[in-house]
């Protein structure tokens, strides 16, 4: 019979939450947000480089080719765009990841991938009209495509 050991380990983090001299949560969160905001331009520049690489790869992608790097880049865009406040771009990259997972099951969706690439580029640009309904429509369309492609 296999041996299973169950025990209660020391929780080293616990001390940090019992210290009366610590930062108030609000202070901690404000400081964290300020730190991230201070680096937004750097994050945006890195995001644009990855986005360009992602779109280039999607456009060159052929059926049956490995899509690992595409998947990594799309995940990076989810994270980086979201942190920079580009929520729709992050969601579009999420939809692309869904599609790539479907493709990993052996079906090729080259056209759907290209639509996602175009959508990512469009969503990266600010909407001059200031209305969000165009962006929402793009996301709804991408979601429909990903659903359709889910075997």
């Amino acid at each position: 019979m296999s041996k299973v050991r169950v025990f209660t380990p020391e929780n080293r983090l616990a001390r940090a939450f019992k210290d009366p001299n610590g930062l108030l949560y609000k202070q901690a969160l404000d400081r964290a947000s300020a730190n991230v905001a201070a680096k937004r331009d750097t994050y945006l520049a890195a995001l644009d480089i990855k986005l360009e690489a992602l779109v280039d790869r999607v456009r060159q992608h052929s059926a049956g080719a490995a899509s690992d790097m595409l998947y990594f880049l799309a995940q990076d865009v989810i994270a980086d765009a979201g942190v920079c406040g580009l929520r729709e771009l992050s969601l579009a990259a999420h939809s692309l990841c869904d599609l790539l997972v479907s493709e990993g099951r052996g079906v090729s969706f080259a056209a759907a991938l290209r639509v996602h690439a175009d959508a990512l580029m469009a969503l990266r640009q600010p909407d001059p009209s200031g209305r969000n309904n165009h962006r929402a429509a793009i996301l709804a369309g991408l979601a429909r495509i990903s659903q359709k492609c889910d075997p």
């Binding site: 296999s2 025990f7 209660t8 949560y25 964290a32 994050y43 890195a46 799309a74 942190v83 869904d98």
Partner: protein, 198 residues
């Protein structure tokens, strides 16, 4: 689990040492900036598994935050829980993921992560998860196929059609009634809050 924070609570992570493993260096830097906001001074960054293994072995850590979606990421998590020679086996380990499919989430849980946090990371969510792992009292399990926090969050009874392995196991399938219905008083008694030792 509600996503609410008690803003009057306090946290002091000045003495905490944290390892952040992420292939995406921007994402790792975001974690570092957030942790710096929380007061953490000692943050080790790694963008590959080899570097992470070294840092994990050479430092006494309180927390590991990693995105396991890199080459060898899940293996690193399993290694950190089981095979590393450091005394960091039982520390809090939070997995972050951009694309959290059910398969990826299960893999992270089964590799030994305490919690999984979706990217893009939000400071309040990360603080809440760190608070959860700091306050949680889950036991640690070391079994042939798993090492990590106890994964049994809820008791759903033994598999349907089996009697279970314990004397007090109850099946989810209700058997045919063998006694008269309970009175309202008897039903109410069952719902009275009572202290339970878990």
């Amino acid at each position: 689990m509600a996503a609410t924070l008690d803003f009057s609570a306090r946290v002091n992570l000045r003495r905490a040492s944290v390892l952040v493993l992420d292939r995406n260096t921007q994402a790792a830097d975001v974690v570092r900036q957030i942790l710096a906001g929380f007061g953490v001074r000692d943050v080790h960054l790694a963008d590959n598994v080899d570097e992470a293994r070294k840092l994990f072995s050479q430092n006494t850590l309180e927390l590991l935050i990693l995105d396991p979606m890199l080459e060898g990421g899940f293996d690193f998590l399993r290694w950190a829980r089981r095979e590393s020679s450091s005394d960091n086996h039982c520390i809090a380990m939070i997995a972050t993921m951009g694309h959290q499919t059910a398969e990826n989430v299960r893999a992270a849980r089964d590799a030994g992560a305490n919690f999984i946090v979706a990217k893009p990371l939000a400071a309040d969510v990360l603080l809440q998860r760190i608070e959860w792992v700091a306050r949680e009292s889950r036991q640690f399990v070391v079994a042939p196929n798993y090492a990590g926090p106890d994964r049994r969050f809820k008791n759903e009874g033994p598999p349907v059609g089996t009697d279970g392995r314990r004397a007090d196991d109850l099946s989810l399938e209700a058997p045919t009634a063998s006694q008269p219905n309970m009175s309202q008083f008897e039903v109410d008694e069952l719902f009275k809050p009572q202290k339970v030792a878990l």
